[in-house]
Subunit: 249 residues, 2 copies
Amino acid sequence: MSKARRLNYLNKNFILAQLPPDEIESLQPAMQMARMTPEDLIFRANERVEYVYFPITAMLSWIATTSEGERVEVGVVGWEGMVGVPEMLGYSVAPFTVEVELPGDVVRIRAEVFRRTFERHSLIQNLLFRYYFTAHTQLAQSCVCNRFHTVEERMNRWLLMAHDRCDGDELALTQEILAGMIGARRPAVSIVLGNLQKAGLIRIERGRITILQREKMEESACECYRVIREAFDHFIEDHHPSVNGFHTA
Amino acid sequence: MSKARRLNYLNKNFILAQLPPDEIESLQPAMQMARMTPEDLIFRANERVEYVYFPITAMLSWIATTSEGERVEVGVVGWEGMVGVPEMLGYSVAPFTVEVELPGDVVRIRAEVFRRTFERHSLIQNLLFRYYFTAHTQLAQSCVCNRFHTVEERMNRWLLMAHDRCDGDELALTQEILAGMIGARRPAVSIVLGNLQKAGLIRIERGRITILQREKMEESACECYRVIREAFDHFIEDHHPSVNGFHTA
DNA sequence: AGGAGTCTGTTTCCCAGCGAACAGAAAAAG
DNA sequence: CTTTTTCTGTTCGCTGGGAAACAGACTCCT
């Protein structure tokens, strides 16, 4: 399985790409393209949702935390998805925090504006429903992975998922952030990353991880990556059988 | 927070209860009530979905497994929900296994029959979409819980969730099954249950656990139970503001 | 009643990874 | 260029709970 080639979706969002041309036209004035960095907040848990976001090259994550301050990612959203779906059905409060994990571009639209689009097109309702199934599968598999797999396995899975969603082979993130994603401590991540670098699979620089040998990383990752990836491929292919985004080279 | 009183939902399924009377009428011949026990299988992962199920007094669980045979619950479904939603949008293959965890009654309907109902009523589509958000929140919280909390905390959470969905205070399950639900080993569960019994919160018998002091169990459970419960209360109240199923006594 | 199968209580060994702590390196700020 | 801040590498003791194993108790079947 190769990294997403993305083909003609490069610099597009998959959900937005499904909108009929006239609808895109009418949304145009309400759409804003923005470059986001990990300092920017998307949603804070239990606060009102103002905008829905469609990542292009940025990668966002749903984060769940405990009252002790421990945190773990419960969903990742890249060019294939969006955040703010519940708002479309009147859940105006975000159940979890959403953060920017990898810097890049997003399109944002005021929630109430996109809601009108959602309500008008059963195709979009259908699409977002299906997107939710995919996200659900992803979350369920992460749940097993977080329970049973080692730091090394979970980290490999996460790096591959991030690699599928970023542009190029460089992931701009710190080890601290990566540790938070997989619900581990930084020292553990640091050691595992060191081993991967010694084996030549990645290159580590301050605030940056470069994927060098994706194939080998897939071999050492647990099955969870494959299960999640297949769910997304299925979602994408359902809509564009021949020209899909995630595709085996 | 007290156990679900269920009021007039007693012996009803919440989703089915939202259907318009004429629709219920026309579904009648296709509906079958069945008593299910933990030996009965609902869905096996990657196999075709024939029926959708609406629990009444039974409790079902989504189970995710690893290739090593480890297993953990990734969702629980009682009288408040249903299984087989993805089939309504053409996902004819179940992504995970669904098992009967607590014996009891369910209503089942052939998937293609209920699908017609689903397609006819945007109210039902809306309802099931919202149900999925709820399930998603439940899963996300379980994900943190599985990652960070102890066997004792996870077990308390699970017992409370099961207690909300069963009839009475007795849970008919073995410690082996309970261990599988929370992704732990049986001996660990056995010890923790022993402590709870010594403290007088539960009574243990072979193949049965009786909840004696629910209030105290809530105190020793982690916050995860509350978060999940609030998501469900919200879902239920959205539809029946005054007469809801889960309600504080 | 007796025997087979299933469920539960408990013990021993062992280790992945947490918690805490600190030094060095790179970047940013001044 | 110096100071401060932010990252990264590494060390070490500690513990929850996994892995394995077994005896006793209950249930069900013949």
